[in-house]
């Protein structure tokens, strides 16, 4: 397997506080990897270690097959673009000047690519506008534009949609998908917005208390999702009695609603309930969301 990023038993310790504990992460080339975890789980620390802002206490990682202890890691890091915490922008400079500055930092003498980058992030018509007058979404897009300088193969985004309005979220989502599809850029995205992340990520890593609890692809996750059927009935007691008798797993949601966690024969269920004078008012098949999957997973990890 061709991995852009691979970590082996990565550890990070701040004095007595262990933030990362044996993190093993694998990001395939061309993937959009969603890093999920609650506040303080170690997401930003992990990203900071990968970007070279902090040294790992133990373990190692490799970027595009080059180990972090190798001399070539500096060259390889040039293939990475990153936005950590917030995009690094000079507010009193225009969008174009911010990109020019990044070109100078990167050491690219030819500034011709600036227009193309601004076009990709749809800021070409605002290139002369000062960044301090930009909306949060525009700033985030400019941050991605800066990360695109040097044509990276791998972009790391730490909470890219934090504080954005729905329109801004859609813009960022479309931009990420476009870059992934058209330029083949691999993404590592950490986010709290699980529903949003589930729309773009092709694989997920669940981080809890410094440990990767699970790494799973989108396909595997969809297979893992529990299907549930939600029924609305007028007599919950009778329905529960029937479900207990037939040993069908269920959960009472309210006085009228019950969730059934098994594929059942609908006709059989409705007929059986009808015989017990129980009227089914509504019937809905629902998929488990990434949010509920995450909560179940983290809850399980905490109980272990």
């Amino acid at each position: 397997m061709d991995y852009v990023l691979e970590t082996n038993n990565l550890r990070k310790k701040y004095r007595r506080n262990e933030v990362l504990i044996d993190v093993n992460m694998h990001i395939e080339k061309g993937a959009i990897y969603g890093l999920i975890g609650k506040n303080g789980a170690g997401k930003t620390t992990l990203i900071r270690v990968i970007c070279g802002l902090q040294k790992p206490t133990a373990g190692n990682y490799s970027i595009c097959g080059v180990s972090n202890v190798s001399k070539d890691i500096s060259k390889t890091r040039k293939k990475i673009g990153a936005i950590i915490e917030s995009p690094s922008l000079c507010l009193n400079m225009s969008a174009e000047d911010n990109l020019k500055k990044q070109y100078k930092i990167t050491g690219i003498p030819n500034l011709e690519g600036i227009h193309d980058i601004l076009k990709i992030v749809k800021l070409d018509d605002k290139k002369n506008k000062k960044v301090k007058n930009f909306s949060l979404g525009m700033k985030q897009r400019l941050g991605i534009a800066i990360a695109l300088v040097g044509s990276p193969d791998f972009i790391i985004l730490d909470e890219p949609i934090n504080g954005l309005d729905p329109e801004g979220i859609i813009e960022i989502r479309e931009l990420i998908l476009k870059l992934n599809k058209e330029k083949g850029i691999t993404f590592l995205i950490s986010s709290h917005y699980l529903d949003e992340l589930s729309k773009i990520a092709t694989c997920y890593g669940f981080l809890n208390d410094g440990k990767i609890v699970k790494e799973i692809s989108k396909k595997e996750l969809e297979q893992d999702f529990k299907k549930k059927i939600q029924i609305k009935i007028d007599n919950v007691k009778e329905c529960v009695r029937y479900l207990e008798e037939t040993r069908i797993p269920y959960k009472i949601i309210s006085d009228e609603v019950i969730d059934i966690y098994e594929k059942i024969n609908v006709t059989k269920l409705v007929t059986a309930l009808s015989k017990r004078n129980c009227i089914v008012n509504n019937f809905q098949e629902k998929d488990e969301t990434l949010e509920s999957y995450y909560l179940n997973l983290i809850g399980g990890a905490e109980n272990d």
């Binding site: 917030s86 020019k100 500055k101």
Partner: protein, 86 residues
């Protein structure tokens, strides 16, 4: 290192506070030159102006550098430089 300096100078040129302090420096030097001229009625030598004025330059530089570097820290520009250049 040269690339970082080039990027730093580029930002410096675009920084309004840099031009404000340049302007303030010129105004301050003209003011003191005028002051000495009117008070002592002597022609002040250029090197003396520069030496006397050097004290004030220190103040201006201290304020300017703290604002300039502070902004780099605040906007995450230093972090970005480390990611790109490490």
């Amino acid at each position: 290192m040269i690339k970082l300096l080039k990027a730093g100078f580029f930002r410096l040129r675009k920084e309004a506070i840099f031009w404000i302090f340049i302007l303030l420096s010129i105004i301050a030097s003209i003011f003191f030159l005028n002051l000495w001229n009117s008070q002592y009625d002597i022609v002040v030598e250029l090197d003396k102006i520069i030496n006397e004025y050097a004290i004030f330059i220190g103040f201006f530089i201290a304020i300017f550098v703290s604002v300039f570097v502070g902004k780099e820290q605040m906007y995450g520009i230093i972090r970005n430089k480390i990611i790109v250049r490490t």
